[in-house]
């Protein structure tokens, strides 16, 4: 068995080498990229009807290695950020036309900058309550609504869009999934100024945007299911940071070094001898380590086949690590923390990261939503009262923020 596998790998390497010998002439241009895509080398793990070769991940690495050996670019790119996120979703749910139209562009590098039009001002935690509408008009859908927290929206070439296409069924059942160009008339992107003073996110306004019916991914009103694949890819590309902490200087194990940053901060403040500070640092040190060790256990459980409930705990556990670490550093810089002057680079970073920690405890679902998920999916506790369950979305009280006058 092992010998056969090795022979198969050898054959693959020979095939790639032969193909490269015939096709690679040292010039990386559009024509070269097109040939790599059409030969199936750009996405070896995708199926043959989606510009792939149906190979294993290990075989894809062989392909990538052969390309790298001769300095040829463009092989096995299907795991890269948006290529994976949009690509895998289209591979699983897209029509033959959509595959033919979009996949080569994703794989050749023509389309690299995407954004996600999911969240709305009225629907953050309750994503399935989204209210952006897409209405059929001949061979187009007309889209109206507003999206928010759109990372990279201002420079995106394309977007994955969730919109409501049926208001007479319960919330999850009336959503559709589209992949659309961002340069269509009626799409306006406005940066959001954050509490940090910067703008990493955008609001996107969609006003009578006419999108071709062919941009629908999956069946009409089946968008929630399509989204699950896209979310899975998003989580995967986010990396999970399983067993992340590397060895420190001089090859010392993380158990000695994982909190060197906090120890340095305390030393710089002249407070390393302060009992309360020492306790605080060692508490955070322990949180960091056990979270890493949980991740190692999760990884091994997943490798052993079967999932791991531990993998769901990391993000929530990380919130207190981040908030408490930066809050401690904030206190340690003392009065400098009252300033937010980029000229004091170190103090500015502390203030900035202290605020940025909310990205972990709010972004991608708040800690409270995460606690619901953990208690329901891992501990098996029941869902709470859901007034919108089974109710046609038209009749559901819509998301948003109630105004003081009750309107």
């Amino acid at each position: 068995m092992t010998i056969e596998q090795e022979r198969a790998t050898g054959e693959l390497a020979d095939e790639v080498r032969a193909w490269l010998a015939a096709n690679w002439h040292g010039t990386d241009d559009a024509d070269w990229r097109r040939r790599v895509v059409e030969a199936g080398w750009a996405a070896p793990t995708w199926p043959r009807d989606a510009f792939g070769r149906g190979l294993s991940r290990a075989d894809a690495k062989t392909v990538a290695a052969e390309f790298a050996a001769v300095g040829a670019p463009g092989a096995a790119v299907e795991t890269r950020a948006f290529t994976a996120l949009a690509g895998n979703t289209i591979v699983e749910f897209g029509s033959p036309e959509l595959k033919r139209d979009i996949l080569p562009k994703l794989l050749s590098g023509e389309l690299t900058r995407g954004c996600l039009l999911y969240s709305e001002p009225g629907n953050g935690s309750d994503l399935a309550g989204l209210q952006t509408r897409a209405e059929r008009d001949g061979d187009v859908f007309v889209v109206n609504g507003q999206k928010i927290w759109t990372t990279g929206g201002h420079e995106a070439q394309f977007a994955l869009l969730l919109a409501r296409t049926n208001w007479d069924v319960p919330k999850h059942a009336g959503i559709s999934f589209f992949i659309i160009p961002m340069d269509l008339p009626g799409i306006e992107v406005r940066p959001i100024k954050q509490m940090t003073g910067e703008s990493d996110f955008n609001e996107v306004f969609l006003t009578d945007v006419r999108i071709p019916a062919g941009t629908l991914v999956g069946e009409l009103n089946d968008g929630w299911r399509v989204l699950q694949t896209a979310l899975k890819e998003e989580r995967r590309t986010m990396g999970f940071e399983l067993g992340a902490r590397a060895q420190g200087e001089g090859g010392r194990a993380p158990i000695f070094t994982a909190s060197d940053d906090l120890i340095e901060a305390a030393r710089a403040a002249g407070k390393l001898g302060d009992e309360a500070v020492r306790q605080n640092i060692m508490r955070i040190h322990s949180w960091r380590l056990v979270n890493d060790w949980n991740a190692v256990r999760a990884k091994k459980e997943i490798e052993a086949g079967g999932g791991s409930s531990l993998a769901s705990l990391g993000k929530l556990a990380n919130s207190r690590i981040l908030h408490e670490s930066w809050a401690l550093k904030f206190r340690l810089i003392g009065a400098r923390g009252m300033l937010y002057d980029p000229a004091d680079k170190a103090a500015y970073e502390v203030d900035h990261q202290m605020m940025w920690s909310f990205i972990n405890s709010i972004g991608g679902g708040t800690d409270q939503i995460q606690r619901n998920i953990i208690s329901e999916r891992i501990l098996g506790l029941p869902k709470g009262y859901e007034p919108d369950r089974g109710v046609p979305f038209r009749d559901v009280r819509k998301g948003g923020t109630a105004r003081p006058d009750g309107k």
């Binding site: 060692m282 190692v296 531990l310 705990l313 208690s375």
Partner: protein, 371 residues
Amino acid sequence: MFGSFTEDQLQLRELVRDYLRDKSPESEVRRLMATDEGYDPAVWTQMAREVGLQGLAIPEQYGGQGAGWTELGIVLEEMGRALLCAPFFSTVVLAATTLLESGDEEAKQQYLPAIADGSLIATVALTEEDGRWDDSGITVPATHTPDGWTLSGAKHFVLDGLTANLVIVPARTASGISLFAVDPAAAGVTRRPSITLDETRKLAVVEFDTTPARLIGAEGGGGPVLRRVLNFAAVALAAEQTGGAQAALDMSVEYLKTRVQFGQVIGAFQALKHMAADVLIEVESARSAAYYALEAAAQDNDELPVAASLAKAYCSEAFVTAAHQNIQFHGGMGFTWEVPAHLYYKRARSSEVFLGDAFAHREALAQRIGV
């Protein structure tokens, strides 16, 4: 290897869990905790001779099976889960480890096989009235006479001190801290049971009055031996605490799924779901800390002192949190004697300070990583 177990280790866990489900149900825990001795001699003997737990980690040359700390940790986690009432921690973790670390071949040959076959209950009488776990707490003097050594003084908080047939006593000689073996039946020994918060864990005051004692290891060599023993014991206790924390969480979840108020099971209320999710993080994190430390103990590597203090600190607080929230989830019933939530809470609190609390171990952790 940290993070996963071998097939044999998984089987050991199943074996011990099944055995304890049978031999240490709540009714037995309650029966035994109400006695002065606090254990069932028949179960103790069976545990040694048929299941092989006392000798599991004792080297084969001393009548054991030669497994390591990982295996012993699995056993302790299950014992913590079941709140087993038995002198296991005192005999196997404290006394056997002290003997193994003592470098005293004669003492090892004399006592370890008896521990492995269940015929000897042993303990280490470390703490005195001030309850310190470090060298400075040891003041009982040992005197050298023409007939050998004698001890005079009192040891407090002695785990299973009433039932032990061998008491290992750290005492002071001219050369420093030395270890002595004392037969509790010898002249001048007085033992009296202490009234404990955690009735499943028996403590005693043991007094000596010119009691003959036998030196174990080198005179003045007890300090380094004890420090190593305390590292191993902290790891062992962390494993036991993890099992207790898991049991408290299991009990909580079961209640949240069955107790009905306001027309629904209370586990549907977010206030309680969120508390439960937070307890789960603590329990799993405690488990990771304990397993990591067990790995360090099994390899006896340079991370052991660090990992031991980290695990003891983390698991102490995690067990207290899980046991505390378990009572809170149960509301009024959690405050009763009838519901066993208080048994876990008392074990958690007692274990929290046993061998040093989380504050002391976090400070030790800081010092051990060089801060």
